[in-house]
Amino acid sequence: MIVEANTVRFDSITLDSGATLAPVEVAYETYGELNAAKSNAILVLHAFSGDAHAAGISHESGKPGWWDNMIGPGKGFDTNRYFVICSNVLGGCRGTTGPGSINPATGCPYAMRFPVITIGDMVRLQKMLIDWFGIPRLLSVSGGSMGGMQALEWAVSYPDRVVSSIPIAATTRHSAQQIAFNEVGRQAIMADPDWNEGNYYGKQLPGRGLSVARMVGHITYMSDDSMREKFGRRLRGKENFGFGFDVDFEVESYLRYRGSQFVNRFDANSYLFITKAMDYFDLTGGRASLAAALEPARARFLIISFSSDWLYPSYQSQETVRALRARNCDVAYVELLSNYGHDSFLVDVAEQADMVRGFLSSTFEKVQ
């Protein structure tokens, strides 16, 4: 399946901060066919560093999508039955308007003049895209991590537009620990002199800061078990310690590699804006309780967490489930056993796919 990215342009979007962004573009890919009743559409939502290329082989890069093991013919999101859409988030750097886009007022990239955005703003732009498709109701919205937060936001903000929601390894609000790790990443970027208050476009990129930020991120996506299994204390290309500060251990090599790769594909300012949006995310939004905040939700929910995920621990998913039960919502929940930490929803997908397939199938039958 060779897939191509498309872009739609809208005149403007009004943000939670009160600011307006005009125009705004959104990059998306689709897989499968929309049926005549437009009742088989599923919006898949990417995590922090993902993009619109969720499945298939990219025409442009030749690479598989970030959830290619979940989306395709016969897979969890079965493209023989469903029409799957994935778009790059607002503030991103993979085709959708973000801090690296040209500000029409100045003719230069927005950089730090880009307005601060929220998860709600990302979802608002996705809803504009779904309206543009003319899809009255999505069969499902689903994603892991930040994508899961969007799946929850969709169910609360546009309850009449989603039949079901599948938030995976997600939370209704960022915890102190989650904010803390994001802040370390932001400080690493802003401490890099090449960051230059965000004005590095066309110049030396703040690669050192961004790669350190990504290294920290990768640690939080794995688990002690998975790192022990993958690296242990193995040395990289040497028999003995180098007695210096070049790479000794495999794990150092891996993190440096992942960090440097990231610099080639991700914009440091997008890192700042998107992590801030995640940190601001709190579905409770000043209401008395989470259950009160979930009052508008009408969707059927499938919530999944992973036993070794210490970045978005199971207790956060369980909190969401309890609040939904208190509202007597239709909610299924399981904690899957996996060693892969927060990354489990991307890499350890066999059981997740079976559940998603069954859940979607029974949901689809109900709307037929």
């Binding site: 208190a326 007597n328 299924a332 929940y333 399981v334 069954g358």
Partner: protein, 208 residues
């Protein structure tokens, strides 16, 4: 009544290999909301949804069973019955089902109270510890009884609260509850005479 029709009436068919499921499936009215506690892989809920248009939810402690239940399209929550009922609002369900699990809960009386807070009616099925084979096994061996119904060694048994038909009736009276229907089963047959001695499984429909 001829002997033949009497025999026919005494016969209880099985549903999904279980006679208590057959009875529960007859009790549950179509189009109702049902919560099944300890629902396993959700077979009963799936059957009730497909055949009676029931809106079903389940609670199950085993993660693997929950995975399978969700995979067959049933909304199941992985959790503990003893504490898991607390989240639900009052009278959220038409029926709350507890099949062959009451004797495994830590606080059966509290579970029964919670079930009646959450549901208008409860359906409880449990193995009868008063069955004559159990009494005989204990009398003869002088040890914790092991029978077809209770096959476990005492140290491996999931059953931590043994109860008889009479015990359950007394708890229901103590709680001031109303028994709408009661069924007693031995194998695939209904028992009418001396249920506390002859029933292997009892099924009750109870309300406040």
């Amino acid at each position: 009544m001829t002997a033949q029709t009497a025999k026919k009436q005494a016969f209880v068919r099985e549903l999904l290999g279980r006679s208590d499921y057959a009875i529960i499936s007859e009790i549950v009215e179509p189009g109702t909301k049902v919560l099944d506690l300890g629902c396993g892989e959700g077979e009963l809920l799936e059957w009730l949804a497909a055949n009676k248009g029931v809106q079903g939810r389940g609670v199950e402690i085993s993660g693997v069973k929950v995975q399978h239940a969700i995979g067959r399209g049933v909304s199941v929550y992985q959790g503990d019955i003893d504490e898991g009922l607390a989240d639900y609002p009052d009278q959220a369900f038409d029926y709350v089902i507890l099949s062959q699990t009451l004797q495994e809960t830590l606080y059966p009386r509290h579970v029964l109270q919670e079930m009646l807070r959450v549901g208008r009616r409860v359906i409880v099925a449990f193995p009868n510890f008063g069955h004559w084979t159990v009494r005989y096994s204990m009398l003869k061996s002088g040890r914790a009884p092991r029978t077809k119904l209770f096959p476990y060694e005492w140290y491996e048994s999931p059953n931590i609260h043994f109860l008889t038909v009479q015990d359950f009736e007394e708890l229901v009276a103590l709680e001031g509850l109303v028994i709408e229907r009661r069924y007693f089963l031995s194998g695939k047959s209904k028992v009418t005479l001396l249920p506390n001695l002859r029933a292997e499984v009892a099924v009750y429909l109870v309300r406040r």
